[in-house]
Amino acid sequence: MGIKQISVFVENKTGRLAAVLEVLEKKQINIRAFDVSDSANIGIVRLILTDAELGLHELHQAGFTARIDPVAIVELPDVPGGLLRAVVKPLADAGINVDYLYAYTEPSTNKPIAVIKTEDIARAEKVLKQR
């Protein structure tokens, strides 16, 4: 199943992450999942929001550099090796390189969900579905 992810560019310094979160709080946009990738000077904040389009609009309005991308999500079996067998292995076997992945718990089902970014989302989704 496909879903939209918002990424925000931040400088790696005090208060920048808070500034991003404040924009979302002010507009009552809820964060379902959250991931940060950083280097010495910069960071990328990745967000799964209740309303991705609105979130992107508000972040742009607040002057942030941000983008929207499709990502694949898949429910993980809550057992040892779940991530390996449900996601990593099938994609590796299909020759699909994972750019990054992170996970969250879906509140309605209380099940873990993996968010996966690859070059070709449609193809990754097909592989994950076939499993």
Binding site: N41, T65, A66, D99
Partner: protein
């Protein structure tokens, strides 16, 4: 065309007119300005030695330093009784350049600007919002008189108070906005923040001058304001704005050569360079009364083209000014022009021209290191750290290839780098950068 007799003049006739005017001007400054008398004598030159236009090269150059040495009014060719107005450059770190005008100079200047505005495609039916700074700066008042001379409406908003600028543009039906390119970017941004779509107003043209404008900056202004952008070039020593201006074909800025005799020279040797070759622009004023300039070295880098233009004008065009001879930084002993850095940034797709060069100065002109702060916009941003790091590396390698030294790059969030409402600052000392570290 406002003045076809001069704007479509043949080269031959133009050169005859230029020679006559040059001979008069040279005689005048030799007789009236002690500095020029001295400078000519020390080269063994008399006004009578100027027999043909190419004899111009016998005359000595005048530099900014000569202006400084003769501060405030040592180069004036008329008595103070004939002066009706005095402008000045900002001179933030140095003595400013003082620019006195006779009544005749104001007339000439207004006419040159009216002609220039017409060259840009502006007519008496236009409403010109003049957001160039009024006051000592030549921009505001200069354009004000030019627009009135053309018979269009001038709204003297001056620079600043950006929200009011936008409200007035909507309410008064402004068709042309005149301001510095960096201020045009600010107006575009503020309009967006206010939720105003300038494409829905009557605005149809922006006239930008008083500071260098890159092609990327022009694209950003077009995008921000939703209109075409005409560039203008000027300098206080020559008169102010109006030394050259683009026509709607955007193929260089037309120079009123009946008023200004221009050359492009090698900045190191002073030798004249052929058309099409980049070098330092040198200007001789042919009609200025109060403060004539003889072979003034502008320090601006450009090239000339005297082929007739598609717009029908025969007046020569100068290319966009790509740098200044005195912007040069010496980094680890290597000469670096900020324009080189800007060109590299523009070539890497999507990088906005919002950057700042931070230098660690060891002495007045030497620095041990430079760091380039680049604002990250949506088009170069990626959700993958690897992609961003690759872009950064590409930038670093491209800069190293062009400059011959290693530089550091720091990516910063949009709007981190303050945009002044006047001239944009491209180089800053690390010691001045307290808010960025």
């Amino acid at each position: 065309m406002r003045d076809p007799e001069h704007e479509q003049i043949s080269r031959e006739k133009l050169e005859q007119l230029q020679l006559e005017r040059l001979q008069l001007k040279v005689k005048e400054v030799y007789e009236r300005v002690p500095y020029y008398t001295q400078a000519f004598k020390s080269r063994g030159i008399k006004p009578a030695d100027i027999k043909k236009l190419s004899d111009l090269t016998k005359l000595p150059f005048t530099s900014k330093l000569d202006f400084k040495k003769n501060y405030p009014l040592g180069l004036m060719a008329v008595p103070m009784e004939r002066i009706v107005r005095i402008h000045s450059s900002s001179g933030t770190t140095d003595k400013p350049t003082i620019a006195p005008y006779t009544r005749g100079d104001i007339e000439t200047w207004s006419e040159i600007l009216a002609r220039g505005l017409a060259t840009a495609g502006i007519t008496s039916k236009d409403i010109f919002q003049n957001a160039f700074g009024y006051g000592l700066f030549t921009g505001g008042m200069g354009y004000h008189y030019g627009v009135e001379r053309l018979g269009a409406v001038v709204i003297p908003t001056s620079a600043g108070n950006t929200k009011r600028q936008i409200t007035l543009m909507q309410d008064l039906g402004t068709t042309v906005l005149g301001c510095t390119p960096s201020y045009a970017l600010i107006i575009g941004e503020v309009a967006r923040e206010m939720g105003v779509d300038l494409r829905k107003t009557k605005l149809r043209l922006a006239l930008c001058g008083a500071e260098p404008i890159s092609e990327q900056m022009r694209e950003d202004i077009k995008e921000g304001l939703g209109v075409d952008v005409i560039s203008d070039y000027g300098l206080t020593e020559a008169m102010g704005p109006g030394v050259s201006i683009e026509c709607p074909y955007h193929c260089g800025m037309h120079i009123p050569e009946d008023h200004f005799l221009v050359e492009v020279v090698d900045p190191n040797t002073g030798e004249q360079l052929p058309n099409g070759v980049q070098g330092e622009l040198v200007i001789t004023s042919l009609t200025k009364e109060a403060y004539p300039i003889i072979r003034f070295r502008t320090r601006d880098i450009t090239s000339l083209n005297s082929e007739p233009c598609k717009c029908g004008r025969t007046l020569a065009r100068m290319s966009r000014v790509t740098g200044r001879t005195d912007d040069m930084l010496k980094v680890k002993g290597v000469n670096v022009f900020p324009s080189q850095i800007e060109n590299v940034l523009l070539k890497i797709e999507g990088v906005e021209p919002h950057y700042l060069i931070v230098v660690d100065r060891t002495e007045a002109f030497s620095c041990s290191d430079i760091e380039i702060l680049v604002e990250v916009n949506d088009s170069i941003f990626s959700d993958k750290m690897q992609t961003i790091e690759k872009m950064e590396e590409k930038l670093r390698l491209a800069l190293e290839a062009v400059l011959g030294i290693q530089t550091r790059i720091r990516l910063v969030e949009p709007k981190t780098l303050t945009r002044s409402e006047g001239k944009s600052k491209r180089v800053v000392d690390r010691s001045e950068l307290s808010n960025l570290k």
